[in-house]
Structures are given as structure tokens and as C-alpha cells.
Amino acid sequence: MRWKQIEDKPKSFALIFETDDEIASVLQQFARRQGLGGSSFKAIGALSHAKLGWFNWETKKYDPACVLDEQVELLSLIGDIALRDGEPQVYAHVVVGRSDGTAHGGHLLEARVRPTCELILTESPTFLQKKFDPKSGIALIQI
């Protein structure tokens, strides 16, 4: 993954992923190294492997809803990064398109890039930053 800062206020970056990069883990690493507070991002690209999750309200965990071990277009990746005990947590939703155009969507668990993924990340103003919500088990915006 290569990156470039594209704006100062608000702090914004372009992150360009390459073949075999796993988006969620690379993003988390990037957020930690840059010391980012809450941020939001969006991306398009293509993947060789995707694992999508569905939030199970009973278990408070993500069930694997769909595992695609094939080339798919990354149609939409929209998400944010929030701090949980000072550690950045990536929270994102993804829609992918298969070779016949059918689309699958869910919570991002794993996404392996091939050949590229173009992601724009913007650090959020302090008042929009998220906090971990123990009731739901996920980070929510606390206004």
C-alpha cells in the first residue's frame, strides 16, 4: 500500500492498495502509525477474495454472511475508524459485484485486493469521533 496526504484541513489521505493487500488490517496499521483520531473513508477497486459479515444481535458477533473466493469488483466500501481503548478499530460496509453483475454486501471482515483499491480517508472533526458502546459491542458516534 502506498499513500499520499492530499489535504491539511481536514487531514485527508489517498491510500492506494496493491495486489494481495488486505484492506482492513492495512488500514488499521495505517491509522495507528499516523495517530489518527476518528476518521471516515470510501473506496473503489477490485478484489480476489472477500469475506462479508452480518451482525448477529443475539451473539453480538459478526457471522460470516458470504465468502467469495473469486475476482469481484469492489463497488463500494464506506466506513470509519474509531478509537477503542486508544486502539483504532475499522468499521466498514462493502458491496461487491460478481462477474454476472450480481451484488453482495455486508460488514467488511476481509478483503484481499487485486489489482488495485483506491481509498480516500479524512480525519473527522473531534465532535464526530466515536466511542465504544458496551451495549451493542460496536463504536457509535456520541454527540
Binding site: 502506498r2 499513500w3 499520499k4 492530499i6 489535504e7 491539511d8 485527508s12 489517498a14 492506494i16 496493491e18 495486489t19 470510501k42 473506496a43 473503489i44 477490485a46 480476489s48 475476482q71 469481484v72 469488483e73 469492489l74 463497488l75 463500494s76 466500501l77 464506506i78 458491496v95 461487491v96 459485484g97 460478481r98 462477474s99 454476472d100 453483475g101 450480481t102 451484488a103 487485486r114 489489482p115 488495485t116 483506491e118 480516500i120
Partner: protein, 191 residues
């Protein structure tokens, strides 16, 4: 090869590839990433500057009935000298060709979208290749029963409108040719 390309191009223009009896023709269902984009296909497109900003600029680019949005976005990028941008859009269309990148063939497999569809989401960016803007767009569409399909946008015929909100960055983002895929990929290290 040029014959196949020409017939592929003709099919795009007619927009009813499946009905023309060419569907068995090898190659006509695929399009090369480098295929030229025609201009002048979005005559009703309107552009409004929303926020002149000191560095980042925000534009609304609005398309109307019959405009072909992909070529229109490229014309917008050329006219406004865009060197780095990203945008999202919603709207509706009547007829589109989406693509799925086939890594073995290094070409996009065409996915025809016939009839009226909602544009549920469209995400995209713009970067420069050899000094000229390249628009990279993905789209998710919904049909009359709510089922969705999506892909890389090759062409999209707006009906009745498509509202594109563009953020233009104050930097230049460069692309380089990637021989492994025949695609142009953004390289943040390139000046």
C-alpha cells in the same frame, strides 16, 4: 483484433448487444481497459461550484435525460483541469454497460443493464495518466424488484437525472501503466 474492437464499439453505441446476435462472437462481450471514450454524449450536463474553498473545491455535476454520464464526467475533468478528485452520486438511468475485470484476459467483461434502474450508489475518483484525467467509477443499480447489480462503469444513460457531488483536491495524483493487468493504477509516489 481491430475488427473485434470495432464491432464491440458498435455494440456499445447500439446498446442492445444481447439482441444483435453477436453474443456468441468471441471478444465482443469484453472490452479493453484502454478503449477510447467518446466525447459530446452529455450535452445537458450542468456544473455548479458549491464551495470555492482555499484549497479543496466542491462541485455539483448534474446530468439530465439521455446524457451519457461516464463521458460527461471525463469532459468535466478536462474542462475544469482536475488533477485529483473523488466523488459520489445517486440518480437513475435507463440502460448502462457495467464491467467486471477478468484478470486472466486483462479485459472487462460487459454486463448489460437494460431498462430503468435506480443508481443506488456511485463512487469514483479522478487521477492523471500522461497529463490527462482518467475517471474510475463503480456503480450499484437497483431494478424494479429491488435486486441489485453492479460493476465498473463503461457507460450509463441517465434518466431522468444523476446528481454527482465532486470534491476536487489541491494536489496531483498520477497513474502509471501496469503491464501485469493492462490497467492504469494510481501511484502516489509519482510527481
Amino acid at each position: 483484433m481491430s475488427n473485434i474492437k470495432r464491432s464491440g464499439c458498435a455494440l456499445i453505441l447500439i446498446g442492445i448487444a444481447g439482441l444483435m446476435g453477436h453474443s456468441q462472437e468471441k471478444g465482443s462481450e469484453y472490452v479493453a481497459p484502454s478503449e477510447a471514450v467518446l466525447r459530446g454524449k452529455a450535452p445537458k450536463m450542468q456544473v455548479q461550484l458549491l464551495d470555492p474553498g482555499e484549497s479543496t473545491k466542491q462541485y455539483a455535476v448534474i446530468f439530465y435525460q439521455g446524457d451519457e454520464a461516464f463521458s460527461g464526467l471525463l469532459e468535466f475533468a478536462e474542462k475544469y483541469h482536475v488533477t485529483s478528485a473523488h466523488f459520489t452520486a445517486i440518480g437513475a438511468l435507463n440502460g448502462a454497460t457495467l464491467g467486471w475485470f477478468d484478470p486472466q484476459r486483462k479485459m472487462y467483461k460487459k454486463i448489460p443493464i437494460n431498462g430503468q434502474h435506480e443508481v443506488i450508489g456511485m463512487s469514483a475518483d479522478i487521477a492523471l495518466y500522461q497529463g490527462k484525467p482518467v475517471v474510475h467509477t463503480h456503480m450499484l443499480v437497483g431494478g424494479p424488484d429491488g435486486t441489485t447489480r453492479g460493476g465498473h462503469v463503461l457507460e450509463a444513460y441517465v434518466s431522468p437525472t444523476l446528481e454527482v457531488m465532486v470534491t476536487v483536491d489541491p494536489v496531483t495524483m498520477q497513474k502509471r501503466f501496469d503491464p501485469a493487468t493492462d490497467l492504469t493504477l494510481i501511484d502516489p509516489a509519482l510527481k
